[in-house]
């Protein structure tokens, strides 16, 4: 019975972890893209 609850906990944790890791990866990608956009904009303005 203990194992039953433990694996239920693992299941819920795994589900949330996948969502959280994916959201973090999206946020990091967004930050990288915005930095790149600023850099390219500065490069265009400098020309």
């Amino acid at each position: 019975m203990d194992q039953n609850y433990t694996f239920m906990f693992y299941g819920f944790t795994a589900a949330w972890l996948v969502v959280i890791i994916y959201v973090i990866s999206i946020a990091l990608r967004e930050r990288k893209l915005r930095a790149e956009l600023d850099r390219v904009k500065r490069m265009v303005e400098g020309k």
Binding site: N4, Y5, G11, F12, A14, L33, V40
Partner: protein, 217 residues
């Protein structure tokens, strides 16, 4: 916000209102993430297939961006389905995995969409990438039908239909309702994630056009 509120409320319902299942005990609650994640991924893959068909018909790269965003988000939910299913199987069957028709066809589906994302990274030319990925997205979607019907077409270790919308489904209404609420919450969450991914794609296109403009001088 709404998605988060529904998920939080459902956690309360799942743990405090729904009793343990007679044969499986507490582990049956994994179904409240396993099934909604699977249906969310199927829904996404289907919408991506329509976007891919729209791309092939119109050659508008915006449809390719929509399909890519949907497929990436849906793959995350497909991953949740595989992991939670494996954890449930470890307790219910005593094994992590078995090569039965439902599990194998879903794993093949997961591999196809991993392949889709790898293909996107491997091709630099936007139009070639969009064309090949659209074809793969349409082809991969055929597997969804096999996954969905596999528990009716084949004898599988995977449980038969449990939802009331399918023949043979038989859950108590009080136990089934949190599945639908969680599905709504995950569909809302996936919509938000898809919109974020599409915004990133738009930023990427803006960077590309600015680079082309800068290189023209």
């Amino acid at each position: 916000m709404l998605s988060g509120a529904i998920l939080a409320w459902n956690l309360h319902t799942m743990f405090l209102r729904v009793p343990d299942e007679l044969n499986q005990g507490a582990i049956f609650r994994i179904i409240y993430f396993h099934v909604p994640s699977a249906i969310t991924s199927f829904t996404g893959f289907f919408f991506a297939m329509f976007a891919s068909v729209a791309y092939l018909a119109s050659k508008n790269l915006r449809f390719d961006a929509i399909a890519a965003s949907i497929n990436e988000v849906s793959l995350a939910f497909a991953t949740i389905t595989l992991i939670t299913g494996s954890l449930w199987g470890r307790i219910a069957w005593g094994i992590w995995w078995t090569w039965d028709a439902r599990l194998t066809s879903y794993f093949v589906c997961w591999l196809l969409y991993v392949g889709y994302l790898m293909l996107r990274r491997a091709i630099d030319d936007p139009t070639t990438r969009a064309r090949l990925c659209a074809v793969l997205s349409i082809f991969a979607c055929a597997d969804i039908v096999i996954v969905w019907k596999s528990i009716e077409w084949f004898r599988t270790q995977h449980p038969g239909p449990v939802l009331s919308i399918r023949n043979g489904g038989g859950m108590a209404p009080g136990m089934e309702a949190p599945i639908w609420w969680n599905l709504l919450a995950l569909l809302l969450l996936s919509t938000v994630l898809i919109m974020l991914r599409m915004r990133q794609d738009a930023i990427g296109r803006e960077i590309d056009s600015l680079r082309r403009y800068a290189n023209a001088f």
